[in-house]
């Protein structure tokens, strides 16, 4: 079973599992995996939730799954256009239950760096920037991020720059799911093909793991939903996520 659970499917599925009934859930730009997670949850779970996205869609019925997670096709079939000002305001006034927000580095307090590797003023790598992060992470009820690489350079003890603070509720990587506990990220579960030891080895910050165990395998409906969304594994191929590098 676990060998069929690719790291790509692992991230999408575990992001989807953060979505709760009746909540308002948001996915933004540069966020293909959360976009797929929201669409997966619609198909795989027996509850209703409000899915709003950066294309202005509110519970849309997109005719196709776009490469760009801000593609206007994500507003197709929507009964309203809920634009950028609107969803940011919704978040700052406390009406956003779950936000998916990107990150390049995450620290043990769930803060993120999406700005620069190295010194901000003389960056080794200029990153995209945090988008909504600095405003949404402290104001959304829960925020969740994902990293397609789980390593000591992405799961860091000290961020090169604190783009956004406030603390992620959850972090999903190819090998692990973290959930906030007492203002720190704690390991909730690990990929069935990984282990607590591997997660510790590949994480630069300390974390609690008392409750942690192997991640529950994907349900048949989760598997089918993702297969329906990505029948030719185009997204999976493009994402090119590996469980672990050949030589770490």
């Amino acid at each position: 079973m676990s060998e069929s659970w690719s790291p790509f499917a692992y991230i999408v599925t575990n992001l989807a599992r953060f979505i709760r009934p009746h909540e308002v859930t948001f996915s933004g730009v540069n966020s293909s995996l959360p976009m797929l997670a929201c669409l997966l949850a619609r198909r795989a779970y027996d509850f209703d939730f409000t899915y709003i996205n950066v294309a202005g869609g509110v519970d849309p019925i997109p005719s196709s799954v776009p490469i760009s997670s801000s593609d206007p096709v994500l507003a197709e079939g929507s009964t309203a256009i809920f634009g950028n000002e609107d969803f940011y305001d919704l978040c700052t006034r406390g009406g956003m239950d779950l936000c998916f927000l990107g990150a390049a580095q995450v620290d043990g307090r769930g803060r993120t760096n999406v700005s620069a590797i190295g010194d901000w003023h003389h960056p080794k790598v200029r990153l995209p920037g945090g988008g909504g992060g600095a405003v949404m992470l402290p104001t959304a009820k829960r925020s969740v991020t994902w990293r397609t690489e789980h390593s000591r350079r992405t799961m860091v003890e000290t961020l090169d720059f604190v783009t956004a603070a406030g603390g992620m509720h959850g972090v999903v990587t190819p090998i692990a799911v973290f959930v906030k506990q007492n203002d720190r990220l704690a390991l909730a579960s690990w990929h069935p093909e990984s282990s607590l030891e591997e997660v510790r080895e590949r994480t630069a910050f300390d974390f609690e793991a008392g409750q942690a165990r192997p991640t529950e395998s994907p349900t048949q409906r989760e598997i089918e939903a993702l297969a329906a969304l990505d029948p030719e594994r185009r997204f999976e191929t493009d994402a090119a996520i590996v469980l672990r590098k050949e030589a770490v």
Binding site: P21, H22, E23, V24, D48, F49, T50, I52, G56, V58, D59, I61, A75, G77, S78, T79, A80, I81, F82, D86, D89, L90, C91, T92, R93, G94, G95, D97, T139
Partner: protein, 277 residues
Amino acid sequence: MGIARTAKIESVAKLAARIPDGASLALGGSFLHRGPFALVRELIRQQRRDLEIIKQSPGYDIDILCRAGAVRRARTGIVAMEGNFGLAPWYRRAIENGDVELEEHACATLTAGLRASAFGVPFMPCGGIHGSALAELNGWQKLPDPYGNAGETYVIPKIRPDFAIVLANEVTEQGDARVFGTSHWDRIMTRAADRVLVVAERQVATDTFRERPELTLVPHFMVEAAAVLPNAGWPGSCWPDYEVDYPAVEAYLGRDEAALADHLAAAPEAREEIAHV
């Protein structure tokens, strides 16, 4: 938390029953135009008390609520019947008698307070105001520009109504609402309030909204419940469906108690109730 895509259409009476005594209500529309007047009257029939009315330019709505003794506090910019009817007489009397407490705004200061709520911040800068005695009256504070580019600016405290109640032309079963012509301050009211109720002229198929989603003023997940009642804005207008019924407004202004009773009996939601029996 969002409100799921369940069916949300109910009677005007049930909609009104969601509003408790003492609630603060942001009412949509302006003067005699696009007011959720059927719901306003239903609050009177249900003998609601101690309401706070928040609206930049109320008229008929606040007047009839004052006439019925339902209002404790008004937060308004300008109050009049308009047309050729001048002042709102029962509102005027309630203020002059001290029966109703007034927080007098400029329309834009009320909007600023609503914006603060909608944007999730405790105060909102507002242009102008300088030299107006409203600032001192309301205790509005001036702040220096921390960036040194401008003089002092007034900031208005957040205004968060318990309810926003708007009159839409069209609503879906799930509660999406759209408005034709100007939507006055309805948009910011729905973003500022804790809960949103919609009165609509008619229900249309959800696909109608899907074809032109840009016209939707309030998406379903923000709407708690909605009532559908043709002519719900009577005796005011609801563009483009109908114009002001001036004779009905004039009849309402009759000074005897029968005028109010007759007016309430002639309202479209009164006929709805009879039909529901």
